[in-house]
Amino acid sequence: MRGLIYLYKRTIINNIKRALKRPVTYIWLVFVVGYLLLMGIGFGTMIEEGNFGTPENIVAILSIIIFAMIPGNIISYSRRKGLLFRPSEVHFVFSAPVSPKMVLMFEGVKSFAGNLVIGVLIIVFGGLWFHIPAWQLVVYFLFFVVFESVLEASIIIFCFGNEYFGEKFYKRLPVVMYLFMAVVAGTALYKLLNGEPSFSLISEYFAMPVIQLVPVVGWNVAVTRLVFLGPDMFNLIGTALYLISVIGMFVFAWKMKCTGEYYEDAMKFADDYQKMRQNQKKGVVNIPWKKKNKLREATVEYKGAYAKAIYFRQILEYKKNPAFIFGWNTLLCLGLGAAIAAVCYFNDAIGEFGEARIFIVPAVVSYVIFVFSGYATKWSKELENPYTYMIPDSPLKKVWYATKIEHIRAIVDGILVTLPGAVVLGLSPVMTVLTILLYICLNANKLYYNMLADVLIGNLFGNVGRSIVRMLFQGLAIGIAAVAALIGGLVIGLEVGFFLMILVMGILTFAGAMVASLSFNRMEVME
């Protein structure tokens, strides 16, 4: 126990000290405080002007929070995944002479601290915006912070520490929970389909006796209604059931035998989480339900040496992949293309935009490529491989051959995004090809400008900082290309303007790739 307290204290102090030494902390702080102030003022004004500050509305908002938070937490605990143990805790805490239940409680502190923060926010904003009497807020704080945390702690111990129920039980429990929540969501959908969509519909939904009697989550809503709206039969029953469940679960968790068998699952989850974090840092999207692909047998003929070997090795890896170079992004492009076509078709885009309709697809894909940070593929892994740097070839060639497949993939994606819209909008074959070319160009631009951001600022401002720098450069390039398109379009014609846009974009992208090739010069750039 003393050790765990020391551990938390030192971790917090050292992290604060470290953060205060970094200039970026202050920049983020200004942004966050400014954002929160603006949001606070905005919401405050909205609530005042819209006469929204009533007890009924705070009950509806809190009920939404309860339904958004609690089921998710319980489901993740029942899957024995709600607590994030790190490898260092597996090493130093699991083997220490600390009760396994105590270890769970210390890991749950973050969650309980979350309850405390929300409880404080409820007191502040409940008083300021909703003019709730202080005694009601204090009672609710007691409920939300103390009782809810006791219940959550007991659920954590029950789900993680239980050594009586076997693995099958914990595999079935989340399924039952999902089914249960599906019924609750189904009820909400039924209510939505049979009523006028409005905020009062939400209040009506949470006032339904059947909802207030949903175990744990609904009972929470019942307590909220009892505190802020006064007693009625159903919220009294729900509150009584809630209190019984808190006491019952607490006694059960207290008495339950727990020798630490859950350490095995926690250790595995710690490893998986670690891998996921590493992937996130590299920009790889984690798809929880995605299983590892089984690889096929494949061969490749290396038609060239030096940097070209990178390209052929990638081809070999992709040939082993059942989906070859395609993946989720291909499907997303197909979906986006279909969506553009559908929206244009149903909104008579030809009549609405006339000649300017040729810019619809480019505008949408520019936005999508500009905003989304992209996905890491095999090319980015080249930067982690020491052999990439040791291959005796120029950095620019290495950049080209490491990213060549990305351009091939961009051709396919570009066709999928462009073609449906081009058909609906009646674009000429030349314009369609030019639009596909623009997509390839934008994609390449993003890829190389990401590299450029790496070369220029490295890890100084983290992933978000890198994305912002990339967006700045890319925004600038898109802006310059758009000006070129405008001038070309006004002086000569739309097609020429479009071609100029691609040309300028291509030149700027090549320039970016030249500078970015520095990252293939020495490995330390990435560190």
């Binding site: 050790g3 551990l7 030192r10 260092s88 090493h91 083997s95 220490a96 600390v98 350490y263 095995e264």
Partner: protein, 233 residues
């Protein structure tokens, strides 16, 4: 004393450890030998209480999962993992408090000095190299002043000076009556240390040797004699 009784561990349908039993008496050094995938790490993790298993593990006649047993038990895992935001010194301080160890300041200084960490005391966990992490991990296990200590591939990542120091530490622990179990496949590193050797293959112990009975036979010869590998021998 460290007692393993009928230890069995399955991962799904895969039987990783099959009814393994052995004992390392008080003050002796046991070596768990075996090729990769033999089940050594599974046994070590089970003893450390990190895995579910069938069978029994006793530390000084107490169940290994009991808090009393954990208080006198040191563990050096194969892959050390440090707290990112804790310094080397704070790691040891955490251990001192978590185990209520009576290790004195001078003893900590001496320990850090032995493993050449005295000038790294202020370094954060996230700033340490793998070798340094391993040294910190060893120092933490020793700071407990354990009666039973488990070292899983402890030499991996250590520099020659640290390996020499660790060997001396193991012999000192033995003199102090501490029970030591080392899991390794680096035969060369443990040939001066062992009292008992347990050779594992495919989740079973296929041979147990007592140094006294073997009249100081070479551990490498014993290993290849029973596993049938090592043509060079």
């Amino acid at each position: 004393m460290l007692e393993i009784q009928e230890l069995t561990k399955k991962y799904g349908k895969y039987l990783a450890v099959d009814h393994v039993s052995f004992t390392v008496p008080t003050g002796q050094v046991g070596i768990l030998l075996g090729p990769n995938g033999a089940g050594k790490s599974t046994i070590i993790k089970s003893i450390a209480g990190l895995l579910r298993y069938q069978g029994g593990v006793g530390i000084e006649h107490m169940p290994a999962r009991s808090l009393e047993a954990k208080r006198i038990f040191g563990y050096v895992p194969e892959v050390p993992a440090m707290f990112d935001a804790l310094t080397v010194r704070e790691h040891i301080e955490y251990i001192r408090r978590a185990y209520d160890s009576d290790i004195a300041e001078e003893e900590i200084e001496h320990l850090l000095q032995r493993f050449e960490l005295e000038d790294k005391q202020g370094k954060l966990g996230r700033e340490l190299s793998k070798g340094m992490m391993q040294k910190v991990s060893i120092c933490c296990a020793l700071a407990i002043k354990p009666k039973v200590i488990l070292l899983d591939e402890p030499m991996v990542g250590l520099d020659p000076a640290a390996i020499k120091e660790l060997k001396e530490v193991v012999l000192e622990l033995k003199e102090q009556g501490v029970t030591v179990l080392i899991s390794t496949h680096m035969l060369e590193m443990v040939k001066d240390l062992w009292d008992l050797v347990f050779i594992m293959q495919k989740g079973n112990i296929i041979g147990t040797f007592d140094r006294k009975q073997q009249k100081d036979a070479d551990i490498e010869e014993l290993f290849f004699q029973i596993t049938g590998g090592g043509d060079a021998q």
